[in-house]
């Protein structure tokens, strides 16, 4: 049982946005890394859009940690938008939310 995951990079007002579509799990590593590599050079901050994400497990969390670690080394801030209440809770208990700004909607995220 495999579900397609798409990580689509785009740029908006100096922000590198990565739309996370589908299932974020251990199989998403290559797509997410590639999207970051495309989005990062043009941006001083990265916005992960979880709105189109349908499921994330602990392997997906590990991928977010990897992106966060890489961005910190490169001096880029990481923001998040579109998290459901449940995943926002998970970001809190894992303390991911201490290291990335979480926005309620896309308008405030790119403002």
């Amino acid at each position: 049982m495999t579900d397609r995951f798409i990580a689509a990079p785009r740029a908006e007002a100096g922000t590198g946005i990565i739309d996370l579509v589908g299932v974020l799990d251990g199989d998403s590593a290559a797509a997410l890394t590639e999207a970051y590599t495309v989005a990062a050079p043009e941006a001083d901050r990265i916005l992960l859009n979880f709105e189109p994400m349908t499921f994330m497990n602990s392997s997906g969390i590990a991928l977010v940690v990897e992106i966060l670690a890489r961005a910190r080394v490169e001096g880029r801030a990481v923001h998040a938008v579109g998290l459901s209440d449940h995943y926002r809770h998970i970001f809190e208990i894992t303390r991911l939310s201490d290291f990335m700004t979480i926005h309620g909607d896309m308008a405030s995220a790119v403002a």
Binding site: D3, V23, F55, S58, A62, L63, V65, H86, I90, T94
Partner: protein, 528 residues
């Protein structure tokens, strides 16, 4: 000091006797000296005098009110040469009169003084070696006694515990180094009821272990008769009294539990009171009585209580409540009460929780002062009657999402709050993923069984794989700071999420299967 003085003197006297025999064939005077021994008590003033004497001391002119001086004179000693090592008097050289019948000259004294200065350190070394040898022999004897006591005690503790349907009975026993006299026992009676006992013999070592073994055998024997807990204790008390060494006694709590109804009846011979963990916290169940073996003809009042599904009875020994922190504060009964009242979400259950709290309190490197014994009887509920749904999944990648959706459907009727239902779904996905990858090693032919049950005040999702005989390895707690620094791998969140998203996680394993139970309390417990 008496011992070394005697030993030293004998050797010196014999040497003098040999010299005398060479020069004076009849040797009459010195044979008399050889036959005499002189006791010098540690408080005799001669010892203080010799300690500070500048050199050899002539006894004839010594004015000292000392029984030892008198005895030495009678033994024929004319001159005493103190042996001093590191400022301490460690012996003396005792000489009779000169064979030439003249007094000891200044040169003689100087020579003896010099001889004493060289002999004293050598003598001290010999004394130390002898002391160490004696200590080593003592230590070896102590270790042997310990081993015997441990052997007796372990032999008389149960190797398996009966597990009536719907109940979980667990025990933990950890002997102190000196081996106290703790014991416990759990026996299934022919009528299906469970008899249990926990006790503590005063004293330590082999004597305590022997009394423990005798008490446990007497309890088993009395338990076979148609006696209630009070009758069992009264009979064992009478049998022990008279045989037990004086100043030794046994505290013991004895109970009989009917696992079908939860009916409990127990009596207490001076042992620590048991705790009952309930939805509302914890209660101490009170029952009193004289310890066993002190006085004959005692009676023991029986206390009745009815346990409910979901409740737990915890028995303990004073090795728990009387454990000390590094600052000498005592763990105490109120603290144990609070630990029991808080319940347990830990993998090791209530016993694991108590031991964790005890370890936290006493700190690392604690030398356990007394035996620690814990016995818990928990009524899990009637599992078979409340299975809500059951399904087997193949060990395929991504199957965790199908299992998660299926569990969500199965618990719809349970009216979980939406947030708790979402938490349960993620925990199920993680546990199924572990079962597929770790338990079944990714072998698609091996099944993952998922069962949803309602047990008393709990909603339980049990996930079983074929990775029998091994428990989930304990890994380091994920730390986001360490992960971002590169000191920890970015992975390793699975177990952490499971533990933080449900109210309790239980784990069990047999030879072929491994089960993780995800528990949500349905009695109004705080949602995660």
């Amino acid at each position: 000091m008496t011992t070394w003085t005697q030993t030293l003197r004998r050797r010196i006297t014999r040497r003098a006797a040999a010299d005398a025999a060479a020069t004076q064939p009849d040797g009459e005077q010195l044979r008399g000296a050889e036959a005499s021994t002189v006791e010098i008590p540690p408080n005799d003033p001669i010892l203080a005098f010799l300690q500070s004497a500048p050199g050899p001391v002539e006894l004839e002119t010594l004015e000292l009110d000392s029984p030892a001086v008198r005895d030495l004179r009678e033994a024929g000693v004319a001159l005493v040469v103190p042996l001093i090592s590191s400022g301490e008097l460690i012996g003396t050289l005792n000489l009779g009169p000169r064979l030439s019948e003249q007094g000891y000259s200044t040169d003689d004294r100087r020579l003896l003084d010099s001889l004493a200065a060289q002999a004293a350190p050598a003598l001290r070394v010999a004394q130390l070696v002898r002391e160490q040898e004696a200590e080593a022999r003592e230590r070896q004897k102590y270790e042997q006694e310990l081993a015997v006591a441990q052997l007796i005690q372990q032999h008389f503790l149960p190797t398996t515990l009966p597990q009536p349907p719907g109940w979980s009975i667990e025990a933990h026993y950890r002997p102190a180094r000196a081996v106290g006299g703790d014991f416990y026992d759990v026996v299934e009676r022919p009528d299906g009821r469970i008899a249990f006992a926990i006790g503590d013999v005063t004293d330590k070592g082999v004597p305590a272990a022997m009394v423990m073994a005798a008490t446990r055998s007497l309890l088993r024997s009395a338990g076979r008769e148609e006696l209630g807990p009070g009758g069992v204790l009264a009979q064992v008390n009478d049998l022990l009294h008279g045989d037990i060494p004086s100043r030794m006694f046994v505290t013991c709590l004895y109970g009989i539990l009917d696992p079908r109804s939860g009916e409990l009846r127990f009596a207490n011979a001076g042992h620590n009171l048991p705790f009952l963990q309930t939805d509302a916290g914890a209660d101490e169940l009170r029952a009193t009585g004289m310890p066993l073996g002190l006085m004959p003809g005692m009676s023991y009042a029986e206390v009745e209580h009815r346990l409910l599904p979901g409740q737990l009875l915890l028995l303990h020994s004073d090795g728990v409540t009387e454990a000390h922190a590094p600052d000498r504060a005592m763990f105490g009964t109120p603290r144990l009460h609070d630990v029991v009242a808080a319940g347990s979400d830990e993998r090791g259950g209530m016993l694991g929780k108590v031991l964790t709290e005890l370890e936290r309190f006493t700190g690392m490197g604690w030398e356990q002062e007394d035996d620690i014994t814990l016995l818990s009887l928990r009524w899990e509920g009637e599992a078979a009657a409340s299975t809500l749904a059951e399904r087997t999944f193949p060990s395929q990648r991504g199957i965790e999402r199908e299992a998660m959706a299926w569990v969500a459907e199965a618990v719809v009727a349970s009216d979980l709050e939406p947030a708790r239902a979402e938490n349960l779904k993620t925990a199920v996905a993680e546990a199924v993923m572990n079962a597929v990858e770790h338990g079944n090693g990714g072998d698609e032919t091996l099944p993952v069984e998922v069962r949803v049950e309602r047990r008393a005040a709990e909603l339980v999702v049990a996930i079983t794989d074929r990775g029998g005989g091994r428990m989930i390895p304990i890994t380091e707690t994920p730390d986001i700071d360490a992960k971002l620094r590169g000191d920890q791998t970015p992975r390793g969140w699975g177990l952490f999420l499971i533990q933080n998203l449900v109210d309790a996680v239980r784990e069990s394993s047999d030879d072929s299967r491994h089960t993780v139970e995800l528990v949500l309390r349905t009695d109004g417990g705080e949602p995660r």
